[in-house]
């Protein structure tokens, strides 16, 4: 479903993604793990047509994201690291806009919105403005929205960041349910190793832009002779802390937190 060959992305003299190759089969849940700044988000951006690769080839469902941009965009759903909902609008209206932008016919849109909001336990709150939702509810709504146009692939970029264990647990159960019911391929990144261990069929570990390990959680543990995925991850990537300089997005995020009184 996803085929990546010798993918490279450089920003000036900095190489964010360095010769990465992997395959994700249809219906698989693939976790992409790595420390901060390892190149996870850059890879997702290239897979989702938001960035052009410096070199290398990507095919999504047999199509090249560069040459068939709109067809590829129609074929995937994405949940970003930052929320991308409109807080002033209701849950229903957010779904409605997504449906229109993805050319989902009116009738199907209604029906699927109802199904998904019920599945993600948001149907009762469908007429409430999204800014009144908790972090977990917003996340669930974003994922429900990502599924609305029946994508073949769903990208989840750190979807559980800042959620409590209950919400995390529930969120992954929902994702697994739709993955099984609709055979959707899921490509996710996370910092919680226990989640990856529990949810993912296969895992890729990226560090300094290079893919350092790939396989089932079991294979990776065996390969590094460790007990848990967390230990395996540390064995693969070392224990130095990666300090990213705060970009403008981080500053804005902080500003927003102040502004909204930390509701986000």
């Amino acid at each position: 479903m996803i085929k990546v060959q010798n993918l490279v992305k450089t920003f000036g003299s900095f190489t964010a993604v360095n010769d990465v190759s992997f395959d994700v089969e249809a219906g698989e849940i693939f976790a992409f793990l790595g420390p901060n700044g390892a190149g996870k988000t850059t890879t997702i951006k290239m897979l989702t047509t938001l960035l052009r690769p410096t070199s290398g080839a990507i095919t999504l469902d047999g199509l090249n994201p560069q040459t068939h941009q709109n067809a590829v965009r129609q074929s995937f759903g994405i949940v970003f690291q930052d929320p991308s909902l409109d807080g002033e609008l209701t849950a229903m209206e957010n779904m409605e806009i997504h449906g229109v932008l993805y050319h989902v016919p009116h009738k199907v849109r209604r029906q699927r919105t109802e199904e998904l909001l019920k599945l993600f336990e948001l149907w009762e709150r469908r007429k409430d403005q999204v800014k009144k939702f908790s972090g977990g509810m917003k996340r669930r709504l974003e994922i429900a929205r990502g599924f609305l146009h029946t994508p073949k692939i769903l990208f989840l970029d750190e979807p559980t960041l800042g959620l409590d264990p209950q919400s995390r647990n529930q969120l992954w159960n929902h994702v697994k349910k739709v993955n099984e019911a609709e055979n959707v391929t899921v490509f996710l990144t996370t910092h919680y190793m226990d989640e990856a261990d529990r949810v993912a069929h296969r895992i890729g570990v990226i560090d300094h832009g290079k893919l350092v390990a790939q396989g089932t959680p079991k294979q990776i543990k065996e390969q590094t002779k460790t007990e848990s995925l967390e230990e395996a991850f540390l064995a693969l990537t070392g224990s130095t802390i990666r300090d990213e300089s705060a970009g403008s997005a981080d500053q804005m995020r902080q500003f927003a937190k102040m502004w909204t009184g930390g509701r986000r």
Partner: protein, 249 residues
């Protein structure tokens, strides 16, 4: 087409839902209208320029359209970092449609805001030459709104943080307003001021409204007002489309 419509509708819904903001944004024009209108009125009259309230009303309407349209464009900055912009940019819809939907939405909101201020002006004692002048004035409002919504979006496409926002406010929006002849007659402007005020597109918008509303001290021919607004508006819309197509997230 449906993408343009839904994004236009989104801007309208956001506007009608923030009632506190609507009231707040009427405060500033009211202040200018009442304090300057009634405060400077006698001086203006003594200088032989006629009724200042009649003169300043189109200026204050123009101001509210200017502020509202530029801010709707700059709202892109907010949407960009943690909002909704990414959702629209990864959708299988051409960017041009997204930009058109947003710009039309912002311009519509600005026109509603302008109409509200016009109603306040009418209540406060502003009298247009004929009632039939109001649709024509609305036409000028639409042109001002589109022009500055496009400018705001073009700038918002490149802004990265809130500090930039302050710069735009102090070095672009306020000068555009103060140099537009909203508060003083352009026909009396001399030397450098004369050329700067003539380079400000808002001058022609407010002058156009003065012309059609029959307010005193219009400086240009209404046809010139129309042509300048149309030409600058089209240029800025093209610029907006180009800037919007360059956004990276």
């Amino acid at each position: 087409m449906s993408a343009i419509y839904i994004l236009w509708l989104r801007e309208l819904k956001r506007y009608t839902r923030s009632r506190a903001q609507i009231v707040a944004s009427l405060g500033q024009p009211l202040l200018y209208l009442l304090v300057l209108g009634f405060g400077l009125g006698p001086v203006f009259k003594r200088a032989g320029n006629g009724n200042y309230f009649q003169f300043i009303a189109p200026g204050v309407i123009g101001m509210s359209v200017l502020f509202s349209s530029i801010f709707s464009g700059l709202g892109l900055l907010w949407d960009r970092q943690f909002g909704f912009l990414k959702e629209t940019l990864v959708a299988p819809v051409p960017r041009l449609q997204i930009m058109i939907g947003r710009t039309l939405g912002g311009a519509t909101v600005a026109c509603i805001q302008g109409l509200l201020v016009m109603v306040i002006c009418l209540i406060a004692g502003f009298r247009p030459a004929h009632l039939s002048a109001i649709p024509l004035a609305l036409g000028f409002m639409v042109m001002i709104a589109l022009l500055f919504a496009a400018l705001g979006m073009a700038i918002g496409s490149g802004l990265q943080d809130m500090q930039g926002f302050q710069l735009i406010m102090n070095f672009l929006v306020l000068p555009i307003y103060f140099l537009s002849g909203a508060m003083f007659p352009l026909s009396d402007a001399k030397n450098v001021l004369k050329y700067i005020t003539r380079a400000d597109p808002l001058s022609y918008g407010i002058d156009g409204m003065r012309n059609v509303l029959g307010a005193s001290n219009a400086a240009f021919d209404p046809r010139l007002d129309f042509i300048v607004l149309a030409v600058v508006g089209v240029i800025l819309l093209v610029f907006d489309a180009w800037r919007f197509s360059k956004i990276e997230i």
